[in-house]
C-alpha cells in the first residue's frame, strides 16, 4: 500500500487571512521566529500497491479538477513511503 500526498496552497499573490491570523498569534505566545505564515491543505490518498505513472497522472488530473482551484491555488503531488 502506498500513500499519495497532495499539498494545496493559495498562490503567493492571494491574500491568506488565516495565515496572517496565525502569524499574529505566534508572537503572543512567545514564538518570535516567524516572518510570515501561509496555511494550506493536505490530502492523503491511499492506494493498493505502488503507484504507476498512469495513476499519478490521474491524481494530477483530479487535483487540477477538484482538490485545488487553479484560479487561486497551486498543488504538488508526491508519493510518501
Amino acid at each position: 500500500m502506498a500513500k499519495i500526498v497532495v499539498d494545496v496552497m493559495l498562490k503567493p499573490e492571494i491574500l491568506d487571512p488565516q495565515g496572517v491570523a496565525v502569524s499574529a498569534a505566534l508572537p503572543r505566545l512567545g514564538f518570535t521566529f516567524a516572518k510570515s505564515v501561509r496555511q494550506g491543505k493536505r490530502f492523503e490518498i491511499e492506494i493498493d500497491g505502488e503507484p504507476t505513472p498512469a495513476q499519478l497522472a490521474e491524481v494530477e488530473k483530479a487535483a487540477e479538477k477538484l482538490l485545488a482551484n487553479p484560479v487561486i491555488e497551486t498543488f504538488t503531488v508526491r508519493v510518501e513511503k
Binding site: P17, V71, I72
Partner: protein, 222 residues
C-alpha cells in the same frame, strides 16, 4: 415565465429566492441537485447557503452535482443564470464566471445591510436598475472576498462586466470593491449580497433587491 431555484444539501436561501421570483411575477420551480432535469425553466437561480457544508472549498462539490451539468449547458446557450452568495461561489468554481471567492480579509462572518452601486444594467438580471443607482440589501457571508489575477481584473473593468460594487468601506477585501460580476454575454450574474432578502419592506431592510427578479422577466419578455 418559469424560474428554477436549485436546492443543494445545505442550501439555505432557496425559499426566499423562490418567494422573490414569485413576488416579481414569475413562477418559481424547485430544482433538486441530484436531478439532471431543468423541468423546462427559462432561467435559474443558485441561492445562498452552505452547499455540501462548504467542504473542500465553497461551491467546489456543488459544481459537479448532476443538475449543474444541465445548467452549465443551458447557461452557455444563453439561459439567464443568477448565483447569489454560495451560488456565486458555485459559478466561479464551474468557471462560468472568472475569479474566486475567498475568506473575508478580517476573517469575520459578516451579516449586515450593505449599500451597493449598480454599475452595469445591461445584464439579464440588472436591466430594471439605473447605472449609478445605490441600493441597500443584506450581505451575509464568510467567504465573500472576490479575487482574480490582474489580467482578469483589467478585463472585467475594461469590458464593464462589474455589475455591482460595495459603497463605503470595503467589507471583505474584494478586489476593486467588487460585489457582483457578469459573463461576456450578460446572461450569467454572480452577486455576493442577497437581493432575495430585500424584496418587501415587511421582511427586509428595503425592497431594493426585487428589480433583479423583475429584470429577468423583462429580459425574457423582450
Amino acid at each position: 415565465m418559469k424560474v428554477g431555484v436549485v436546492t443543494f444539501p445545505g442550501t439555505l436561501d432557496d425559499r426566499d429566492a423562490a418567494r422573490a421570483a414569485t413576488h416579481a411575477g414569475t413562477t418559481a420551480v424547485s430544482l433538486w441537485h441530484n436531478d439532471a432535469d431543468l423541468k423546462g425553466v427559462d432561467a435559474v437561480i443558485l441561492p445562498g447557503g452552505f452547499s455540501y457544508g462548504d467542504y473542500l472549498r465553497c461551491g467546489a462539490i456543488s459544481r459537479f452535482a448532476p443538475v449543474m451539468e444541465k445548467i452549465i449547458d443551458a447557461a452557455n446557450g444563453g439561459m439567464p443564470l443568477l448565483g447569489i452568495c454560495n451560488g456565486f461561489q458555485v459559478l466561479c468554481e464551474a468557471h462560468l464566471l472568472p475569479g474566486a471567492l475567498t475568506r473575508n480579509h478580517e476573517l469575520h462572518f459578516l451579516c449586515r445591510d450593505q449599500k451597493l452601486e449598480i454599475t452595469n444594467n445591461q445584464t439579464a438580471w440588472t436591466s430594471s436598475y439605473k447605472v449609478g443607482q445605490e441600493i441597500v440589501i443584506p450581505l451575509k457571508n464568510g467567504e465573500g472576498s472576490f479575487q482574480c489575477d490582474d489580467a482578469t481584473l483589467a478585463a472585467l473593468e475594461g469590458e464593464g462586466r462589474i455589475v455591482a460594487r460595495y459603497v463605503g468601506e470595503n467589507p471583505n477585501g474584494s478586489r476593486n470593491k467588487i460585489a457582483g460580476i457578469t459573463n461576456e454575454r450578460g446572461n450569467v450574474v454572480g452577486l455576493m449580497p442577497h437581493p432575495e432578502h430585500a424584496i418587501d419592506p415587511l421582511t427586509g431592510p428595503t425592497a431594493d433587491g426585487l428589480a433583479f427578479f423583475t429584470s429577468v422577466l423583462n429580459a425574457m419578455v423582450k
